[in-house]
Amino acid sequence: MESNAGATETRSNVTVSDGGEVAAFESLQFTDEIHRLISAPATDNASSFTALLELPATQVVELLHSPESVKLIVASAPNVEDFKGSFHFPSNTGLIKKDARFSVFSGEGNNKNDKSNSPEMTSKNSSANLEKAVKSEPAETASSLPLVSDPTVENRNIKRKDREKKVKGSTKKSKPATNESLEDAEKLPYVHVRARRGQATDSHSLAERARREKINARMKLLQELVPGCNKISGTALVLDEIINHVQSLQRQVEFLSMSLAAVNPRIDFNLDSSFTSESGSTMDGGNFPSLVTPLMWPDVQVNGYRQQFQHQWHFDTLKQPIWGREEVCNNYVTPENSLLSYDSSANSAATLHANQLKMEL
């Protein structure tokens, strides 16, 4: 082993300069353990770790860490015993932090950052495994902390592996063994995209996810359209509600057409050119279909009321004055006025107009 003092100095410098204590300590452990184990006969404890051992230490560390760790690699590995006592506690925090980070990642579902996180994530996972190995190795340490923390660490690691298994298992095209995937991740760091928890990341699934999101967005719009649909949860029930609403609307149309048929229309709807002359404000004259012009109602009373009709067109507010005039000219109702000026006014005036009608009634 190399000189410890120089190594420790560089280590401490790196620790201070890094600003990330945890990361530095983690890297400490790795280089420690790696060097130690490389010198020792390799034992097949954990398959992933043995796979790691086959790799040169520098490569492993590079794979696992950010480029800052390269400095540490250059620095020689210190004696493990020097740091055992000192870094056990921080390594716990490091583990905890890592665990939290991983759970944060898996919980949040940062699918946008999948690719960017993947080497990080895989590195974190594998480093966690390494840490686990680190923890389990120095069983002879005096401090009780690692012994206490070991089961927790192991549990955490087991949980992590389970989570990974879930992540992997949920994808149909996933690899069968998480260990394998871990190894592969370490050998080929950028193959795996760490997916959102419980979701796959191949192109088919991404497209499907996008499609599902589109459908969900439209379902939300429909829920807004249909009154009383917001509280219902579940697509089937919402669709039921939508169908009911559509059917009720159709029935309403039928009912209204029945009442229109039954009511005696002593009203002359005037749709002649004076109506179209108002195209600037309300109606587009060119919009009149051929359906309308041949249907000129031969209204005898029109000419007499033409003045008033023109008068009515110049309302700014569609309100009482028109109704007043309407009472004067009894049969000359121009519902188009109110209906169309209603159109030109704010759209939210729908209920306003209906209320006015009701007031008049």
Partner: protein, 134 residues
């Protein structure tokens, strides 16, 4: 969603105004051809059916071919000019021969609901006018 067509397009040519003109034209025609002095139920029922068809047709024509449901309805009006054409089924069971995936179906449904509400609104106002001028 009801506001969008009026804001996007020229407000004077909104769906509602198009529907109103068409429907009122058809309504005047129907009431003209058949004076309601004779209020026998059969006449009323005939008128009812015609008015209903006119209402649906007006809406379909106002939407023109921009929507799948309007296209389906228009083709049905043109091909089957029978009395049965009044019974309009919901979008999900219309005879849309075009391939509709869920996404488009939901779109169509939303637009259809919007048009239906417009239709109901206008017709209700017309009925109110009738009642008012009694």
């Amino acid at each position: 969603m009801m506001n969008t067509p009026q804001q996007v397009k020229n407000p004077s040519s909104s769906l509602k105004s198009r529907f109103i003109t068409r429907f009122l034209g058809a309504l005047t025609k129907i009431t003209a051809e058949d004076p309601i002095l004779s209020s026998s139920p059969t006449r009323i029922f005939q008128r009812y059916r015609r008015i209903k068809v006119a209402s649906n047709k007006s809406m379909a024509y106002s939407v023109r071919s921009r929507r799948i449901w309007s296209r389906a309805m228009l083709s049905r009006f043109r091909s089957r000019r029978s009395a049965f054409s009044g019974r309009r089924s919901s979008v999900k069971t219309t005879n849309c021969g075009e391939a509709m995936d869920v996404c488009n179906l939901l779109d169509e449904t939303a637009h259809y609901i919007k048009c239906l509400t417009t239709q109901v609104q206008v017709m209700r106002k017309i009925v109110d006018f009738y009642h008012l001028s009694k």
